[in-house]
Amino acid sequence: MTVQPARSRAMVPALHGAAGHETGRRIVVILAFLAIAAVMPFMVDAYWQRVLIFTFVNIALASSWNIIGGVAGYPSFGHGAFFGIGAYTSAMLIIRADLPFVVAIVGGGVVAGLFSLLFIPLFRQRGFYFALSTLAAQMAVETIVRTWSFTRGIEQWDMGWNFPDLGSLTFFYYLMLGLLGLCLLSVVALMASRVGYALKALHKDEIVAASVGVPATHYKSVAFVFSAIWPGVMGAAYGPFLVYISPDNVFSMSMTLNMILISIFGGIGTVTGPILGGLVLSAIDQIAWSNFLEYHHLIYGIMIVTIISFWPGGLVSLIEKAWSKRK
């Protein structure tokens, strides 16, 4: 299946004209968000800086999941695996190979991206089947990491990795913020490119899209690898921040669920949705943690069910509705 060059080139400028505005608006929103976040360390204490770091990681993870799960419409339930792979790659590069942190961050993204190529055959399925296959893949990866002595830890009896001290809290704050900024801008760039349009077309109707010459498997693979690289990078940066990593904290199912939930809560398939969803959900999560620790899981579950049952369109759709009423 090859693209007819002449025809598709004729289509693209028209699309760009309509959507160029959109891209500009998105970049403004993201830059404003980053600017506000950049001055936060001068106003809040160490505790809230840590909370904000978690929030940044969550937003970056949700934004990258959103590309494959929201825009392309392939709900991956295995994205936690890429985050875990990033964190473990970073652990092995820093602790086993004694390489600098920068190499580890890049390495985490590269390894996660390469690993995601193994998932490509799963694109033969869709919907429930795709979701369940990716879920099974994540759990298989987790079991292997948990049991293989090479990945389990530096000593025979270790069940995880202990990072050396790599920097202060402020260093990690700006590192995570910087990575989040790059991630969000790359998402905007991807959405404004041919890939973004192709994914939207595939989501609407894959058969029609394929029949007018959109190479479906190619674009789905690009989207999947893209959405695996960023969790890998974030995992690699996040591991040293956590200091101790084990399958229980980086491969947990709740990592994957968080990405999905934040995307849905904010507005699935939109660029600003995951940012909004990440901020609001992290705030709710924080309140639940600090006030009702014992019922934290329960509150989390209730939140999931309430959001899906009553606001499946997410916050962005609520805001848009309010906006159009005012006009």
Partner: protein, 287 residues
């Protein structure tokens, strides 16, 4: 080798029983219910609580099945009913959320520790079959599973309710057109799913340690059984149960530490190569 095959086969019946409801819901409602495992672990927890309080085991198991059946109907009415027509993602996340809520509540009510009942048939704890000693309880579980499965098949094949269920499974729109109350059929289907899974949980309590937090493993296992046998057909689920029983036993016997990876790997391979089941007995859900 022989005893792995034999015990795997015996356990297979209970795996099939645990998966029947999953297969039925997937066929009729067209959804993957990630809260399925909750019915199983909750069935086990309720049975354990009632049995420790002095209820006879048979009554306790039936009460547990009734509880999970009602829970299934409740979940359908309150939650799944709202979203089952949307993108599959919504149902998956929502039912997973339901699973978290119910298993957390079960943790609070029944405790987080793993429960196992030592149940013996009075007077005849073991039976010798060939060279294998088999606890009589395992044979009881096998027979009960087959009988209750047979009952379900009879209900689906010979009652008017069963005809309505099959009509909804084959074509929802046509079923509506001929005057079948589809929401009611969905409600009862979830009830049946819950009840049979709860009964399976009650039986499993005597075979393997069970705790509320294990619900997700059971969901995966039910899915695997259904996929191996083929969707939508009860016979397929039974075959899947037997095959999965042997696979599961062999995996945990030969590779105890990597068994989950082997099982999940098998699931991926099945989904990719034979989504209609090993013998192509079932249909494929296109959603």
């Amino acid at each position: 080798m022989l005893d792995i095959f034999f015990f795997g086969f015996l356990r297979g019946a209970v795996f099939a029983l645990a998966a029947f409801g999953f297969s039925l819901v997937l066929g009729v409602l067209g959804i993957v219910n990630l809260a399925h495992g909750v019915f199983i672990v909750l069935g086990a927890s309720v049975t354990y609580a009632l049995y420790s309080a002095g209820t006879p085991i048979v009554l306790a198991a039936l009460a547990a099945a009734a509880t999970t059946g009602l829970l299934g109907m409740l979940i359908q009415r309150l939650f799944i009913d709202r979203v089952f027509n949307m993108h599959p993602l919504m149902v998956l996340v929502q039912t997973f959320g339901v699973a978290i809520i119910v298993s957390e509540l079960a943790n609070k009510a029944f405790g987080t520790s793993e429960r196992l009942l030592r149940l013996d048939v009075p007077g005849l704890p073991y039976v010798e079959i060939g060279s294998v000693f088999v606890p009589t309880y395992e044979i009881v579980v096998f027979v009960v599973s087959l009988v209750s499965a047979g009952l379900l098949v009879a209900v689906l094949n010979y009652t008017s309710f069963g005809r309505a269920v099959r009509a909804c499974r084959d074509s929802r729109q046509s079923a509506e057109l001929v005057g079948i109350n589809v929401p009611r059929v969905f409600l009862l289907t979830m009830g049946i799913c819950g009840a049979w899974a709860g009964l399976a949980g009650a039986l499993i309590l005597g075979l393997r340690p069970t705790a509320p937090h294990m619900h997700f493993m059971w969901t995966i296992e039910a899915f695997l059984v259904v996929i191996i046998g083929g969707l939508g057909s009860m016979g397929g689920a039974l075959v899947g149960g037997f095959l999965y029983g042997v696979l599961n036993f062999a995996a945990y016997y030969y590779w105890p530490s990597t068994a989950p990876a082997v099982i999940f790997g098998a699931l991926i391979v099945m989904l990719m190569l034979r989504p209609a089941g090993l013998f192509g007995l079932g249909t494929v859900v296109r959603k």
